[in-house]
């Protein structure tokens, strides 16, 4: 039997029970659509994380104060006092390929304006932070190296903090805010940047010279972090190694001893996040795949019914010279047509659902070609797999028994 004739017979048989065909295909449609939506949402989440990481800058190296040396009491991350402004200077002067550098000391506290107050993150930073983070100002200007050198009480507000303290759209430059009872003059407001990869709002912040935090607010001389951005084309792995070597020398860490600091690139953090979302994505797709398998069982069920109903037809076809393989192919093609049609409609439904969900939730969800191919291929494979047993059963029928079947 020619392929075209086999296909025509399958289509005719499917049309004959349109309702049944539709309901069976629905199982596959839902399964395929679910896979596509799940993968698309996962991919969207991944893309937004990657975009946020890019917005911070992919050429960034973070040096953080580490855990203290091994001893009876280990204080944990960020509790050593060995990272100093002098280290920052040494990195800047001793290592090539650095574009911007900003030491930082942060604290969380309540800040007070004339009539309102707001609890937020106070970041002590260097004058280059705005450049380092590619973070332009909306109003005023960033504080200068002079401000840092003099430990001046000046502040640059994040847009959320500005909105909370002074009201949205106002220009607070020149106004005074109080941080731990110390007056700080507002010199600028940063433009909105949105959420960071970890979910915190980057605009909910106040940035002041790190020297001011050290001297005026905390009374300390050490640093919590040093953020470095590399020049284009600089190998971050090499830069990391250089920084590590320099700090080990400066901190007099003997060979074999642990670092009292940590050097990481944002790419490393990003890759951890990405692999997590990738795992989630495949997990979701796997769950959706279960519904595809259930759809496949529906196909098998209906094909078994179809074979039973058409036993006499099979008997006749065998009697007039159909070979087993002709009968096998006839039912197999029917099952595959069912699953492929369901798969195609499922892709359509999935694409529509992704648009709707994306618009409703504001998530960036995009249908990827590999998701479509995966779902479609899986649907076809399910048609073959679950169609084979009923088709085999039909092909193995004894012509006489089949002809006499009532």
């Amino acid at each position: 039997m020619s392929p075209a004739a086999t296909l025509a017979v399958a289509l005719r048989a499917l049309r004959r029970n349109a309702m049944r065909t539709g309901l069976t295909a629905l199982g596959i449609i839902i399964g395929v659509a679910a896979v596509i939506v799940m993968v698309a949402l996962g991919a969207g989440a991944q893309q937004s994380i990657e975009a946020q990481i890019r917005s911070v800058g992919s050429n960034i190296v973070m040096v953080s104060a580490g855990s203290g040396p091994a001893g009876p009491v280990r204080l944990g991350q960020g509790n050593t006092t060995t990272l100093t402004p002098a280290d920052a200077e040494a990195i800047r002067d001793g290592i090539g390929g650095i574009r911007y550098l900003s030491p930082s000391v942060n604290l969380r506290t309540q800040i007070v304006a004339e009539a309102s107050n707001w609890g937020t993150q106070v970041q002590g930073a260097g004058a280059e932070l705005s450049l380092l983070r590619s973070w332009p100002l909306e109003q005023g200007s960033f504080f200068s190296e002079q401000h840092v050198a003099r430990a001046d009480r000046v502040a640059v507000l994040g847009s959320v903090t500005r909105d909370q303290l002074f009201g949205a759209g106002t220009d607070p430059t020149g106004m005074t805010i109080r941080i731990r009872n110390q007056p700080f003059r507002v010199v600028g407001v940063l433009s909105p940047k949105g959420q960071a990869a970890m979910g915190q709002d980057q605009d909910d912040t106040v940035i002041v010279p790190y020297t001011a935090v050290q001297k005026r607010l905390l009374g300390i001389t050490y640093l919590q972090n040093i953020t470095i951005s590399a020049e284009d084309g600089v190998d971050l792995t090499r830069l990391t190694a250089q920084v590590t070597a320099l700090l080990r020398t400066r901190h007099r860490i003997a060979e074999g001893e642990e670092n009292d600091f940590m050097v990481r690139t944002l790419e490393e953090m990003a890759s951890v996040l990405t692999s997590t979302t990738t795992t989630m994505r495949w997990l979701l797709a796997g769950i959706a795949g279960v519904s595809l398998v259930v759809g496949g069982i529906g196909i098998m069920n209906i094909m078994l019914v179809s074979v039973t109903e058409r036993t006499r037809e099979v008997g006749l076809r065998l009697a007039v010279g159909a070979r087993d393989v002709d009968v096998l192919l006839q039912f197999l093609v029917e099952a595959v047509v069912l699953s492929v049609t369901g798969g195609a409609l499922g892709v359509l439904a999935g694409v529509v659902a992704v648009q709707v969900v994306g618009r409703m939730t504001g998530w960036s969800a995009s249908v990827t070609a590999d998701a479509v191919l995966l779902a479609f291929g899986f649907a076809t494979a399910i048609g073959v797999f679950f169609g084979f047993y009923p088709a085999r059963k039909a092909a193995a029928l004894d012509p006489i028994t089949a002809l006499r079947y009532e």
Binding site: R317, L318, V320, G321
Partner: protein, 255 residues
């Protein structure tokens, strides 16, 4: 003497039903020459249908040999038997076995669909010719449910003829038809036998139907009991005249 079309020797067919062996055929030997019109008769369970299934390559014998047109087919594979059925044999069934919701011409084309390398146009031409040969040239596009029983059986006969078989097998072809239509169908078989020299084997348990054949082979308990030539077979014209002469019982019944 020419080679017989059918040469059967000591054909045995045993079925296993549960733990019991049922001997449907207990050693049948029979020769059928090309161009013969043979009626196989006998009560149900006599083995005539089993014999026909074996002749039609729908079944394989437990023992014995069967040569069709000089070729031993008793040991062929399922696949090879399908090929023999497709090219050498035409089947007509009691229940017509037409595909529903499928036109007459598409039903007739069915055997040719399983013949590789045949174009759709060639299939259609042969199917139309076969339907014209049975007098249904004006019913090509009709569905089975739009046709009378006689027309449906004639469509089924056209389907059996479409592959130019050397052997036509009919299993109780008049079992679902009224007397007049039965006679017409038997007339059609006789015509095909005479005009084309087509060899026909027909299973029936009706004596009147068997009388149309040139030879009657009677089965009983899985064996051939009687094999006789019919000197003057019944003709459709005579049978129809006799039918018309019969008093119509329904009308003549006293009120």
């Amino acid at each position: 003497m020419s080679e017989p079309l059918i040469r059967v020797r000591d054909l045995v067919r045993t079925y296993r039903v549960g733990d019991v062996d049922v001997q449907a055929l207990r050693g049948v030997s029979l020769d059928v020459e090309p161009g013969e019109f043979v009626a196989l008769t006998g009560p149900s369970g006599s083995g005539k249908s089993t014999f026909m299934h074996l002749l039609g390559c729908l079944d394989t014998p437990t023992s014995g040999s069967y040569a069709l047109n000089g070729r031993d087919v008793s040991g062929l594979s399922r696949r090879a038997l399908a090929g023999v059925r497709n090219r050498e044999i035409g089947f007509v069934f009691q229940g017509f076995n037409l595909l529903p919701r499928t036109t007459a011409v598409e039903n007739v084309e069915l055997p040719l669909v399983y013949r590789p390398g045949m174009t759709a146009a060639a299939r259609r031409a042969k199917a139309v010719a076969a339907l014209e040969a049975v007098g249904l040239g004006d019913r090509l596009g009709h569905h089975p449910n739009q046709m009378s029983g006689g027309q449906q059986q004639r469509t089924a006969i056209a389907r059996a003829l479409v592959n130019d078989p050397i052997l036509l097998l009919a299993d109780e072809p008049t079992g679902n038809l009224d007397s007049r239509t039965s006679i017409e169908v038997m007339g059609l078989f006789q015509g095909l036998n005479r005009s084309r020299g087509l060899t026909i084997l027909l299973v029936t348990h009706e004596h009147e139907i068997a009388e149309f054949a040139g030879r009657v082979v009677a089965f009983r308990d899985g064996r051939v009991r009687l094999d006789r030539r019919v000197a003057h077979p019944q003709t459709a014209e005579a049978a129809l005249r006799a039918l018309a002469a019969q008093p119509d019982l329904d009308v003549a019944a006293p009120a």
